[in-house]
């Protein structure tokens, strides 16, 4: 049972959940009580786009990508450099960055997915280290380890996205669009092929599906998502430095994806939100012990709900519904 766009119409609980989420999202920046969470939620939306790409990639190819933040960083820096240093229109810069990220992904993915074996981890590890080193070293272009500030904000015509609330709505529009788009992709022909591969690679191959072609496609898609997220990131923060794009950050994205649930689109959002809220709100109470508690919680969650929190919750919910339906049905 999935929460696809079409499925939404059939599943009243899904509609309810989605509507509730939308309502909450709209209310937060406008309510004087909740608007302090605006920045946090903005960053959650941005991170969720990166996690989404990874969820799809890992869920459907079965390989671990350790370099999602490389594409995130490419999007961020290309947007920053083009829009600030060269005065290029930020939207155009975002497009260029996404194209560049997609191209990189294709160039790397093409040889990697053709090989048998799990080489994606190594390749993406190499990518993220190289890209991070470049960001740090090409100082005249990137501002070096201290980064560059003064990046312009986005605007459409007269509407300027330069307040927390406007940026929030912009970013969430992108995020939700990405989520819905992914749903539609999964329902499309490409999606069916991907699901076949996910079910059994041997079986998929036997009906003539070219495994590597679809894996490369999803890799490129994940790179484009991450790149757009990176562009939105720098136009929100109006500052960029290499720190968020290293290996450790990449590992965090993997964590968010797995905590939410792989191959689950809404799981990506859920996992990102849980991890972010945990480190930003809950763990502040622990002061400097927050890292210890964070590691513990991560372990405990994965031990008890290894399929991911969102997937686990959804399955539990389904079981409850089935149980109730059985109780209510005659005979």
């Amino acid at each position: 049972m999935r929460f696809g766009v079409r499925a939404l119409y059939q599943n009243k609980w899904a509609i309810l959940a989605f509507a509730a989420m939308l309502a909450l999202l709209i209310v937060v920046p406008l309510s004087p009580v909740l608007d302090k969470y605006t920045m946090l939620l903005t960053f959650i939306a941005i991170n969720a786009m990166v996690t989404l790409g990874l969820c799809l990639l890992m869920g459907y190819t079965g390989q671990v990508s350790l370099g999602q933040t490389a594409f995130y960083g490419i999007g961020a820096y290309i947007s920053a450099i083009l829009s600030k240093t060269y005065g290029v229109n930020p939207w155009l810069a975002m497009l260029i960055a996404a194209a560049a990220a997609g191209l990189f992904a294709y160039l790397i993915g093409f040889p990697i997915f053709r090989l048998r074996g799990n080489y994606l981890a190594m390749a993406t590890l190499g990518l993220v280290l190289v890209v991070y080193t470049l960001f740090r070293e090409l100082g005249s272009l990137t501002g070096g380890p201290d980064g560059m500030s003064g990046i312009p904000h986005l605007s459409i015509g007269g509407l300027h996205f330069n307040t927390p609330a406007t940026r929030y709505f912009l970013v969430w529009s992108f995020c939700l669009a990405a989520l819905v788009l992914s749903q539609n992709i999964i329902r499309s022909r490409t999606g069916r092929a991907l699901r076949a591969i996910h079910g059994s690679e041997a079986a998929a191959q036997s009906v003539g599906i070219d495994l590597s072609r679809y894996k490369v496609k999803i890799f490129v898609l994940s790179a484009v998502y991450a790149s757009i997220a990176g562009s939105l990131f720098v136009h929100t923060l109006r500052f960029v430095n290499p720190q968020p794009f290293g290996f450790l950050a990449s590992v965090m994205i993997v964590t968010m994806a797995v905590v939410g649930g792989l191959a689950s689109i809404w799981g990506a959002l859920f996992g990102t939100a849980v991890v972010r809220i945990l480190s930003n709100e809950v763990l502040l109470r622990f002061g400097s012990l927050d890292i210890i508690v964070y590691g513990l919680i991560l372990m405990v969650v994965m031990i008890f709900v290894p399929q991911g929190l969102f997937v686990g919750l959804r399955d539990t919910f389904q079981r409850w519904r089935l149980k109730r339906a059985r109780q209510e049905a005659p005979t």
């Binding site: 080489y119 080193t133 905590v259 792989l262 964070y294 991560l298």
Partner: protein
Amino acid sequence: METGQFLQYLVTGVTMGSIYALVGLGFTIIFSVTGIINFAQGEFVMLGGMLSFILFDSFGLPMGLTVVLSIAAAALLGILLYLLGIRSARKASPVSLIVITIGASIFVRGVAAEIWTKDPVRPPYFTGSESLSWAGAYIQPQVLWIIGTALVAMIVLHVFFSYTTLGKALRACAISRQAAGLVGIDARAMALIAFGLAAGLGAIGGVVMAPHTTVSYESGVMLGLKGFVAAAIGGFKSHTTAFFGGLLVGIIEALTVAINWGPFRSEYADAVALIALLVILVIRSRSLSAGERAS
């Protein structure tokens, strides 16, 4: 470049390479027996170093004893990680298990930082600190310990895996868990031993390394990364390839600094080593699959 200078770079490369090799061995052992990539592997190295310092500095124990205790403690922690973290996660996929090890590595780093210290620490040298001169290069006695220990570990492991029953049982698990089960090998006991062994190996690396390089709560991150690369070269299956892979990473790093021309300079040393090895990997696997297609 004269011989002495070149030799110096080589010594540097082999020194760090030996540590990466030990870490890589740890990754390989755990992966081959259990299919899990243990992201906490670097932390075991850090623990070895830090524990040996704490036992020496705060409890005044003699170095020989601290070394043994540190390694034993790390091995125990490895087993604990397996029992509490891995065994209890019943229907977890390999990826979920990886995240558990990520959580464990964060936890261990946090404990080291908060409970012990955030400052880097250095236990005393094993046999003194006067550099020995050899063919124009200067070698620290501790460096000989590092390289020697790594070599001995490799040889001992080789003997262990090839000639002892337990070692062969572990290798059987690596080849096929199902088949091993059929001949009466308990896969879960093997996994437990694998974790303890890998943790102990990491700690050995940490213990010999710490007097030479200092160790801090963050030391495990970079070491884990480099060891991961070493293990990946061996496909996470071959111990000898992982070992030499680690040495190769260290040597390439040192030589990149030495060349100091174009992209081959100290700033890019990490990246260069990784790319070089990726290229090797791709070439190797292409020739492998070409061989398979041909046959």
